[in-house]
């Protein structure tokens, strides 16, 4: 793991490190050679770690006051908001924190898509990241159910009902998930249990995600392999730590803006109405971060087909490293792919908007077009453009970014093989 042997200076340190090499790990994390040209899109890994820890810490405190019971949950949330010291602050950090977490994770994922960070040799980092993202969606969905408001209840009803589309065993699976014959108290109880569990699973996967990252090292905006350590790298501390801190603080300003001045703008007002199984809300909409997938789900007339496509939209990302046929990582040197990339970004934003609109008329048509394009991007654009595209010249190293004459990507690679 480390590029050099680390020996603690003190005798006690050496004694301990021989038994558990935590100090070696610390030294590795401090010295970890990082490409010096990382831009601010690379700061979201640190921001996401902050988000996860914030959710865990505020969540543990909330769980001390929350009551997971269908008759008491809504009242216990109001108790937190009114009677618990700074309960309103802790809850608003937690509820807006979920949105901030997803904002950051989407930027993180789209950064990876632009700079080809999912490509060899970083496929495992990418796949672990997607597992984290899946667990995040599960945790966020179940967390949104806990206040037991109208949108909690009906959102849970819609999503759990998706499993009933599975042929033969669907109904039994749904009943098993509910622990009852509809979304009810047993459902709330198990969602609370799982909502508490999942963040720690995510934490474990984050450790693996970072471990897998530290094997090949960071990708970078130029997307070439670099010699480590070299003129092209800086030690993680203090260079990257200070830069991450700066970006995190900027992020926290926006976060604080939501928490203190607009704490409910990202939620739905219906969730301040206690859950009522007898009254269905006019529009059932999930939280904003799930809207693109909701649009895909509703764009298919057949329930099972919709469910398959919705999950397919996520699972197709797992094989992305093998769908992308380009030898060049960074879209900076891929003039054709770059344009498709931005069309794809717009497509996902459009799908998100359609997910918030009623599934009828022009909204439904656009959602269908968006869905087809979403899959076409991965199944057609990625493999075909990768094969046909004439890429721009690639620099040999970060320090010499300009290289005249068409460079062979394999040339830039060769450097790496010597290490």
């Amino acid at each position: 793991m480390s590029d050099h042997e680390y020996t603690p200076k003190s005798k006690a340190g050496k004694w301990f490190n021989d038994r558990l090499p935590l100090l070696t790990l610390g030294a590795h994390l401090t010295d970890y050679p990082t490409p010096k040209n990382l831009n601010y899109w690379w700061t979201f890994g640190g921001i996401l770690t902050f988000c996860l820890l914030t959710q865990i810490i505020t969540g543990i405190v909330l769980a001390m006051h929350y009551v997971a019971h269908a008759d008491l949950a809504f009242a216990s949330v109001e108790h937190i908001m009114r009677d618990v010291n700074y309960g309103w602050l802790i809850r608003y950090i937690h509820s807006n924190g979920a949105s901030m977490f997803f904002l950051a994770v989407y930027i993180h994922i789209f950064r990876s898509l632009f700079y080809g960070s999912y490509k060899s040799p970083r496929e495992v980092i990418w796949i672990i990241g997607l597992l984290i993202y899946l667990l995040m969606m599960a945790a966020a969905f179940m967390g949104y159910v806990l206040p037991w408001g109208q949108m909690s209840f009906w959102g849970a009803t819609v999503i759990t009902n998706l499993f009933s589309a599975i042929p033969l065993v669907g109904e039994s699976i749904t009943t098993w998930l509910w622990g009852a014959y509809s979304v009810d108290n047993p459902t709330l109880n198990r969602f609370f249990s799982l909502h508490y569990l999942i963040p720690f699973l995510i934490l474990g996967l984050v450790v693996l995600h970072i471990w897998a990252l530290h094997v090949p090292g960071n990708n970078n905006p130029v997307g070439i392999d670099i010699k480590k350590p070299s003129k092209d790298t800086v030690p993680f501390h203090p260079y990257i730590t200070i830069k991450d801190a700066f970006a995190l603080l900027m992020f926290m300003i926006i976060f604080a803006g939501f928490v203190f001045f607009s704490p409910n703008v990202l939620g739905h007002s219906d969730n301040y109405i206690p859950a009522n199984p007898l009254v269905t809300p006019a529009h059932i909409v999930p939280e904003w971060y799930l809207l693109p997938f909701y649009a895909i789900l509703r764009s298919v007339p057949d329930k099972l087909g919709g469910v398959i496509l919705m999950f397919g939209a996520i699972f197709i990302l797992f094989v992305l490293p093998w769908l992308d046929t380009s030898k060049v990582r960074s879209a900076v040197f891929r003039p054709i792919y770059r344009q498709f990339y931005w069309i794809f970004v717009l497509d996902v934003l459009m799908l998100g908007y359609m997910g918030a609109m009623p599934a009828e008329g022009i909204y439904l048509v656009l959602a269908r077009v968006g869905t087809i394009y979403y899959f076409a991007h991965f199944i057609i654009v990625m493999p075909v453009v990768g094969l046909l595209e004439k890429t721009d010249p690639i620099p040999m190293s970060i320090s010499e970014p300009v290289l005249t004459g068409g460079a062979d990507p394999a040339l830039a690679r060769k450097d790496n093989e010597k290490i």
Partner: protein
Amino acid sequence: MRRFKSLLFVTSLFLALSANLYSAGGEAEPIKVDWSFKGLTGKFDRASLQRGFQVYKEVCSSCHSMQYLSYRNLGEPGGPEFSEQEVKAIAASVEITDGPDDQGEMFTRPGRPADKFKNPYPNVKASIAANGGAYPPDMSVLVKARPGGSNYIYSVLVGYEEPPEGVTLDDGVYYNKYMIGNKIKMSSPLSDDIVEYSDGTQASVDQMAKDVTTFLSWAAEPELEERHRTGVKVIIYLILLTTLVYLSMKKIWSRVDTEV
């Protein structure tokens, strides 16, 4: 720095989109009122809160519960801030059922500041039965539970009209310009001088609607003033810290030839 600006751009785009994501149906847009409690340093108008409580107590509370509020909240900072004596008097004016006592009997006693607001009906079913089949919603978080918030509540209170041509209403259903679906089972609750304000303010429908909406806005967000105050401090602190970290970052990165 250019990259940094594009980051800001994406974020603001996200904010703009998220604000417009959810919209209502075919009703008139709620009237925009210039509430004193909006904005970064918004505070409640204390006198308006006290008048609004009077409207709630004398008009709304005969049907609408506020089960998450306690009488003590009326004296807490950031709210109507009634004096301790006033809060005790308000609480004592209601009969609370308590018990069971040592004999196992329920008994009634005058309310105390620690008691929750008394519910006008023994349960939700009773409230529905007494109101022609419509549940008068609990008002504790009503302002947060409606898309237009304070503007919407105020608009509904002043939005009663004769139904337009072609709209027929069943018995006990009223036409309201702003109500979601335009039909409401509550008759216009306010009429001029239905309450007598002790501070001499003219109790017009508009004035009462504003006062009671202010009161309900506080009831839904009793932390609002503290939240705004803390928020300003937090953001100033974060900006200062960000500046310091930015300068440190510039200094540290000046050792290498890369722009940061």
